[in-house]
Symmetry: C2
Subunit: 249 residues, 2 copies
């Protein structure tokens, strides 16, 4: 029996390694969902999906510097989404947390596409799990856009963020670490900031709100009991659910 699937799209390239990781998580989520629903898992059971990875100007930089000459990411993102729309994409995931600062602009320009929102999907999962407060590791751009603070507040959760110097350490780990291929450096920066944030607010849930962070932070050395939420994983699961239709249970 062939199920009705929807064509879905992934806007990546921010960075490309994170986009590749998102695709893997999406394919795994589809396979798990098909198995769970009792369907045979073969090539033809998967939903049609398209991934665009383009050079998109730095998101955090654009949010911090709004002077006229700054390269803005919105225009190339809109162009890529337009091309994905022309390919028949009905549901779209953006494989970058910071890029969600432009979520409203993208959704408004393409009202016929369902553009998933990474922070809203995370808030739903946290809320369903009974969490009342969580820490957030992210880029300066994601912090200043407030997408997680707002999405968590909208579902009644408190979002704790690191101090200014710690936020700089995270940026160093993301840009000089993950994006430049030095995962060891990145892990060291992420571990330190995570520990400080967890100790300060006695947290038991930490959201890794940048697609690059989970690539270098698989577990916490000092707080192995703290639950790590990977929004990339949550978004990939949500996109798989959209692609494969309503859940059967």
């Amino acid at each position: 029996m062939r199920r009705q699937t929807a064509v879905v799209g992934i806007l990546g390239g921010m960075g490309p390694a994170a986009g590749a990781d998102f695709l893997r998580l999406f394919v795994d989520a589809c396979a798990a969902r098909l198995q769970h629903d009792g369907h045979t898992v073969n090539d033809q059971a998967f939903p049609e999906h398209w991934l665009a990875q383009l050079p998109i100007p730095d998101r955090t930089h654009a949010l911090q510097d709004t002077s006229p000459g700054t390269h803005q990411p919105l225009e190339p993102m809109l162009q890529a989404v337009g091309r994905l729309a022309a390919l028949g994409v009905r549901h779209l995931a953006i494989a970058c947390n910071t890029a969600h600062a432009w979520h409203t602009a993208i959704q408004e320009r393409f009202p016929r596409i369902d553009v998933l929102h990474i922070a809203q999907e995370v808030a739903l999962v946290l809320s369903a799990g009974g969490t009342v407060r969580a820490g957030l590791l992210a880029t300066e751009g994601t912090y200043s856009s407030g997408i997680y603070q707002k999405a968590l507040a909208d579902t009644g959760l408190v979002c704790h963020i690191p101090l200014e110097a710690e936020r700089s350490a995270l940026m160093h780990g993301i840009y000089k670490g993950v994006k430049a291929g030095d995962l060891k450096l990145a892990n060291r920066q992420f571990q330190e900031v995570a520990s400080a944030l967890i100790d300060r607010h006695a947290l038991d849930v930490l959201v890794l709100g940048c697609t690059e962070i989970p690539l270098a932070l698989r577990e916490l050395e000092k707080h192995p009991q703290v639950q790590l939420i990977d929004p990339t994983q949550v978004l990939a699961q949500a996109l798989a659910d959209k692609a494969l239709g309503a859940c059967s249970d």
Copy 2:
């Protein structure tokens, strides 16, 4: 300094997990190449690339059963390549060994796109490394299409293939193992056939000529000294070289 890059495409979905693995290898190959050339590795340095993963009828089945009712993979592959061409793709990689049975048909239909050939790329690498004969693990479709036997012969190499019962064991490992999510079963099948083939022909190079095989066969238990060639890796490297332009050294 910004280098001139070419837009490249990946035709996947055969299966989707192999397509995701190919994408990861391609992104890694681009990063390694940029580093090697002394370029800064950041999001914007990567070439634009598009990945299409669509439900494409089984390739081996189509090669074995050419009766009128059989679902043929060529038509949906041509449609997908046409859409990738419209996106501006100049170089294309097909993330499935067996699908290369239709390489000539695809290349003829789209003469302005450079469609890479996985077996020819592997033959070049083997030849450059001084190899004179190699074993091939693949699907029945790939064996019967003869793409590797021909590509290796064209560069003066001998290609050894398993016996009929061993080829059935490989198919079982690919379809009931990797494609169905049982990597343990797959590994057992692949290890046994690999050992028999290596012993029979005293081989020291084995080509894993199906994108699903490397997902379940990372090393050989009985012959750790035998070199494993992953054509997916070779093709990803070749596509990265095309996307990033001529090598500087």
